[in-house]
Symmetry: none
Subunit: 207 residues, 4 copies
Amino acid sequence: MLQKPPLSPRKKPVQARSQATVDAILEATARVLVDSGYDRASTNRIADRAGVSIGSLYQYFPSKESLVGALIDRHSDEMLAVFLRQVAAVKDAPIHEAVRAVVVATVDSHLVEPKLHRIFEEQVPRIGKLAESLEKLDTHASSAVRAYLLAHASELRVKDLETAIFVVVHAVEALVHRAVFVQRGPTRDALVEAIVDLVTRFLAEDQ
Amino acid sequence: MLQKPPLSPRKKPVQARSQATVDAILEATARVLVDSGYDRASTNRIADRAGVSIGSLYQYFPSKESLVGALIDRHSDEMLAVFLRQVAAVKDAPIHEAVRAVVVATVDSHLVEPKLHRIFEEQVPRIGKLAESLEKLDTHASSAVRAYLLAHASELRVKDLETAIFVVVHAVEALVHRAVFVQRGPTRDALVEAIVDLVTRFLAEDQ
Amino acid sequence: MLQKPPLSPRKKPVQARSQATVDAILEATARVLVDSGYDRASTNRIADRAGVSIGSLYQYFPSKESLVGALIDRHSDEMLAVFLRQVAAVKDAPIHEAVRAVVVATVDSHLVEPKLHRIFEEQVPRIGKLAESLEKLDTHASSAVRAYLLAHASELRVKDLETAIFVVVHAVEALVHRAVFVQRGPTRDALVEAIVDLVTRFLAEDQ
Amino acid sequence: MLQKPPLSPRKKPVQARSQATVDAILEATARVLVDSGYDRASTNRIADRAGVSIGSLYQYFPSKESLVGALIDRHSDEMLAVFLRQVAAVKDAPIHEAVRAVVVATVDSHLVEPKLHRIFEEQVPRIGKLAESLEKLDTHASSAVRAYLLAHASELRVKDLETAIFVVVHAVEALVHRAVFVQRGPTRDALVEAIVDLVTRFLAEDQ
DNA sequence: GATGAATGAGCGTTCATTCAT
DNA sequence: CATGAATGAACGCTCATTCAT
């Protein structure tokens, strides 16, 4: 379901043109969402910005929901790439270091297109297929965390692994979201330290 | 709930009639939001459901935003009442017990009108005045937590109190929200235990 | 149809109260019209400003049209009073002096409540009974001019008196309206001179 | 009136379809205004009458104001064409003849679509952008008069040219409007004679 | 395929007017 | 008589979607 790098080279020219159109539409969607917000992001406005007719837009995306869903998917993939790259580097590191990497990676992934991400989180209704798209990131992040924790099970103080994953992933995500987007409250650095502390103490005994 | 002491005797009967209408409108708003979601909750539909003309609705609420905002305020007050009542009971209790009370109180407050709460969290765009209303609960919950932590500062291992409050309040809220509403994931009881553990270890040394 | 000074003193007390209410409503109408314009001057807003219930407003005025019509009548009476007082003073004066008096009187009558007058002229649709009310001033001004011209017929160069009256009254009115309200164009004094010149040359031979 | 020289060949067929729709909408606007008056001329009614969806109306006119403004512009252009054609023919004629031509041209221009013109003058509120559109005719008529008077300055008795233009244009317009639309009063022919007399005596010495 | 004109249900909101109290 | 809560038709306008060209 993810569009990975060009694995199937057949019909490239046609696909290349199509892909360019699709990209233009998705780019326009992102820009209109950021500029106008979800409620005022009409498909006509998006087609205009993409330099594409509204008819063409509907050729590639059968509904507004599918269009926004595709953009969310694309954005999730980008965030996930940032997250996984950083987390992969510490897959053998001790817990404290790994936790810090997860928190920082979460922050960095939130900085990919922060305005767009904020609109996804705060304006797009979590309904129908959009809800699924918006959950995608969690699911994949959970997998990465699961892999690490399974490999380091002996160092953990928590017993119920699935619950721990759930707690860690969602606590980190919620706190980072607020750290990145909400003005009031502690500085971002102070928060990162606190989140690392919170999660580390939860997962492992003091060494 | 009306007419407590005769402080302002003028317009009392008038107000009673109005209040009934206002209540009917707010009730209808809640029901329509739950049944149809925020996007399909039109003011005309709400007025219909309230058994009231659209004109009456606009006599009491100058805009859809103000109507939803009023309902959010009302709902926040109810949740807050549940939360504060339970938290007040442990204001002198040791940290572990207090944290458990906070987590359980958060869960209970989420069960006041869970479907409505979910709409507020997941469908109402965090924009303009609605954003403020949606923040109300956090602000008040933070105050309660602040009061407790200030009184128990000597027992805490965290130094930066404001950061700790921020972390605790938002982590608990985000995790409870998911515990209550999202089907996949651990059982609610397991989660409550884990959240208590997470927060307790963060705030205080093992005794 | 004009309310002249208290000619029928019976039932004074009752009428006094009613009259006070009516006056308050008319005053409020004038103020709301000036502040908000005709389109946004709702009967509810007017009743509010008058410190009177909407029900009472409709007790005295059966429709918005009748309310605005009454205000136009009242305003026309005030303008007419100013106009007639000044014109009466020159009823035996030579034409040039009389014409000047008419023009100046027209200007002065436009300054009674200029903002209100402008709204009557530029925003109130000339439809139904309102059209009649708005014509009232013309009719009475024409009568005054007619009386003068009849008395000075021998000095006139124009033969068709009714046509002359029509031309004089409406030309003066249109030009004075623009002189008073429109920013672009000549200064008011220059215009007054020109209007006097226009009308004098039209009515009489140079002496 | 379309497609004169092939200057911009792109979108020509497209434009033709659009232009037909725009024309239908403007025509319907004129008819609805005449039939129902400005206040009852709703955009939905106009779209209905044009045999076009309300959405199409708003594709071409972003607001009711812009729609009525466009119609006023179109109508002003038509009136102006009639006026200028007749006035141009006498640009070298002596004053008396030129004045007569101006008055007759003003009458004729008022007969282009008299009912519509009356609506514009008497029902459309002179507010915002509509005020500008409604002034358009005056401005252009003034220019034509200015050109003539400048060319014939030596024959004039008035010294202040701008004031004279102002007086002539607005007096003629106001009187013609009444001559054409108001039932009571002198016959139209008598009025035309009187207006010509009024203006001629004002501008020039008897020859 | 691409185009963009066209659609129309539905939205939030206003306001002259009525009528039970 | 006065009140003001209640009414509801109607308004200007948006936008996801369709379909003839």
